[in-house]
């Protein structure tokens, strides 16, 4: 394996990890506030569709992004309405959201575009352009660092950089601000937050809305950067892989970045070598596809460090009377 191949793999790792990263951070905010979010997949899907549809009509990827965020936030609010206001079962609500997205996107796409549940292909400004980082050309010929900087890090969609920025930002918000402290506290011990005079309901709604915004960006990236348009079921389980990454990262921001890069790399390797020949054994691509899920089960089983979710996760908060 030569450097060019490694650079190629790393390049596609970063691209494939980006939607996972946004979705994983979305889950991080929601679950840290005590709201389980099985519905990441659905929010990602609905955002991918609305971004592509609006980008197609307006010819602007940025307007598409806003539409995707709006759609995803609406779905997030449905989840909040069911699980915070009406204290329903958060898992069931998430399952419902995923099906609602899977059905809604195809029905609306079919009625708008009549192309079997897809949007027309996007081109030009309807997609996010690749941006070159400064000195990308100048550094290209430097050994090792050159290709890594110029090919892997530079020349990505602006959303990739936004995703990479979102990680330290998430860390800072969660661990260095009053808002973050309260948000983590409603996920661990909502009664204490309530006693301190902070509204648990409002905090949880904030968390759910932030999750909606982040899923929205992830979905927009899927259909307007990674691909050129929406196709039916294009999220293809990424919401669940992000959920897996979140558990893998034990609900922490920097570790989320590591987890999504790992899972992104697995996907990149599976795409590059459908059947991976390791000398002794050949791994079929089905094994590579299943690996993120297998790893997550192993982590969940607690054989490699225990993954402990936020303590109040999944519990609707009822004020004592």
């Amino acid at each position: 394996m030569d450097l060019a191949t490694i650079v190629q793999i790393l390049e596609s790792t970063l691209r494939l990890a980006t939607p996972l990263l946004f979705t994983c951070l979305a889950g991080l905010f929601s679950e840290r506030a005590g709201i389980f979010d099985i519905g990441l997949e659905g929010k990602l899907l609905v955002a991918a569709f609305f971004s592509a549809a609006f980008a197609f009509y307006t010819g602007s990827a940025w307007l598409g992004l806003l539409a995707g965020i709006a759609a995803s936030v609406v779905f997030a609010l449905i989840h909040g309405f069911a699980s915070i206001t009406f204290r329903g079962n958060q898992l069931i609500s998430g399952v419902a959201i995923n099906f609602l997205a899977a059905g809604m996107t195809v029905v609306v796409a079919q009625s708008l575009f009549h192309q079997g549940g897809r949007t027309p292909p996007l081109s030009g400004n309807a997609r996010f352009e690749r941006i070159d980082l400064p000195f990308a050309d100048a550094l290209r010929d430097v050994p090792v660092i050159g290709p890594l900087y110029s090919n892997v890090l530079s020349g990505n969609s602006v959303l990739v950089y936004l995703g990479l920025l979102a990680v330290p930002l998430t860390w800072w918000v969660l661990y260095r601000t009053r808002f973050g402290l309260r948000l983590r506290a409603v996920g661990e011990n909502p009664a204490a937050v309530d006693t301190a005079g902070v509204s648990v309901v409002r905090m949880r709604y904030y968390a759910v809305i932030i999750a909606g915004v982040l899923c929205g960006i992830g979905g927009a990236y899927l259909s307007t950067s990674l691909a050129a348009g929406f196709v039916k079921d294009m999220s293809a389980g990424r919401g669940y892989i992000a959920l897996a990454a979140l558990i893998f990262a034990k609900w922490r921001p920097w570790q989320s970045l590591v987890a999504v890069l790992l899972f992104g790399m697995l996907e990149a390797i599976a795409n590059r070598w459908p059947n991976l020949d390791l000398g002794l054994i050949t791994l079929p691509n089905q094994f590579m596809a299943a690996l993120p899920y297998i790893l997550t089960v192993v982590i969940l089983a607690g054989f490699v460090g225990k993954a402990i979710p936020p303590r109040a996760g999944g519990e609707p908060y009822v004020k004592e009377r």
């Binding site: 099985i38 079962n89 609500s93 609602l100 195809v106 669940y240 596809a289 997550t296 607690g302």
Partner: protein, 360 residues
């Protein structure tokens, strides 16, 4: 609120809301909801051809709905029905392809046993991890759905695919193993029934399982223990009921029932194992169980309802521009209103009943 209102009115109101929203969606995309409903009814219930498909889907949903219900009774949310059914399908294919069965009914019994064992084993790992290591069963069963899809994909494209064939599917089973369809069953009684619908004897097996499950849940010690555990884990613990045992047994039964669903959709359907043999029935089981309040007899009506929606939805896709995914929206709304937004429907109803009581 009286019990009958809780069992009947709450699901019924949820259904009405779900249908009303679906009608709005149909209006919004420029179609006529009333004509859509007419097409669905005639397409699924208007002929024995339609019934042949409706009851075929109903059989799937009876088994997956029952599977989710039994787990719900023990307060376990088994989202893994889809994966358990896929692996159950593998069991069906293996015994149908490699065992020389003398006739259809021995093969059916063999396939039921094999699919039950395969499905139960697939549920056993998440169950064990929940019972012993505290891993959240919802997450592990979701993960196992994806792993199951990969396992099946591998088996179909590398191991079980006939050498000459290109598509990932097994060879067709021997024709003697074809399950008798409703037309064959009803013929001796002089009832004419369409031969094309795939509904078959598994419908009666599924209904028998519902009755058996009812007897088990309400008349046996095990059923009582499962329900007690589901109602209150600490109380069950003080009564000497082992949490490990109940979680394992409830999930094994649940997985086995999901697995058996594949007998209908593989042996009774295309007569070979294909990639999408389950067609989301594992997930529809969630909606069915929620509507039927996890009661083994109560799920029969919702299973029929979803059978009707599934077949009606296909007819709708043929006759109008409304795609098949419309029923996924209805399914989502039913899950949302009967499962998560239960309180939205229940609170006004409770208030109404309280008001009525005060007046009288």
């Amino acid at each position: 609120m009286p019990k009958w209102a809780d069992v009947l009115l709450v699901p019924l109101f949820s259904l009405v809301i779900a249908f009303a929203i679906s009608a709005l969606v149909i209006l919004a995309i420029g179609e006529d909801p009333i004509r859509a409903m007419e097409l669905m009814v005639t397409g699924s219930l208007g002929s024995t051809y339609g019934w042949g498909y409706t009851l075929y889907y109903t059989t799937n949903f009876l088994l997956t709905g029952l599977a989710v219900s039994i787990a719900f009774q023990a307060k376990l949310f088994n989202i893994g029905g889809e994966g358990q059914a896929l692996i159950g399908g593998l069991g069906v294919a293996l015994v149908c392809l490699f065992v020389p069965w003398p006739n259809w009914w021995t093969a059916m019994i063999g396939a039921i046993l094999a699919s039950a064992v395969f499905g139960a084993l697939w549920a056993a790992i998440p169950a064990y991890l929940q019972a012993r290591r505290g891993s959240h069963i919802v997450i592990t069963t979701i993960m196992f759905n994806f792993i199951a899809a990969s396992v099946l994909n591998y088996m179909l494209s590398h191991v079980l695919r006939p050498p000459a064939s290109m598509d990932p599917a097994t060879a067709r089973f021997a024709s003697e193993l074809r399950l008798p369809r409703l037309a064959d069953v009803l013929e001796p009684f002089g009832i004419a029934f369409s031969r094309s619908g795939p509904a078959n004897v598994m419908l009666f097996v599924a209904l028998a399982f519902c009755v058996l499950a009812y007897v088990m849940m309400s008349r046996t010690k095990l059923g009582f223990e499962i329900r007690a555990f589901g109602q209150s884990e600490p109380a069950a613990h003080y009564a000497g009921i082992s949490a490990f045992r109940i979680i394992m047994i409830a999930m094994l039964i649940s997985g086995a029932l999901s697995g058996v669903m594949a007998v209908n959709s593989v042996m009774g359907g295309p007569q070979r194992l294909v990639m999408n043999a389950v067609e989301g029935a594992g997930f529809i089981g969630i909606a069915v169980a929620l509507m039927g309040r996890s009661h083994p007899i109560g799920i029969i009506a919702p299973a029929l309802l979803f059978g009707f929606l599934f077949q009606g939805g296909s007819e709708l896709a043929i006759e109008t521009t409304i795609p098949r995914e419309m029923i996924v929206i209805i399914q989502a709304l039913v899950i949302m209103f009967t499962g998560a937004l239960d309180n939205l429907v229940r609170q006004p109803l409770e208030a109404m009943f309280a008001l009525g009581r005060r007046k009288s």
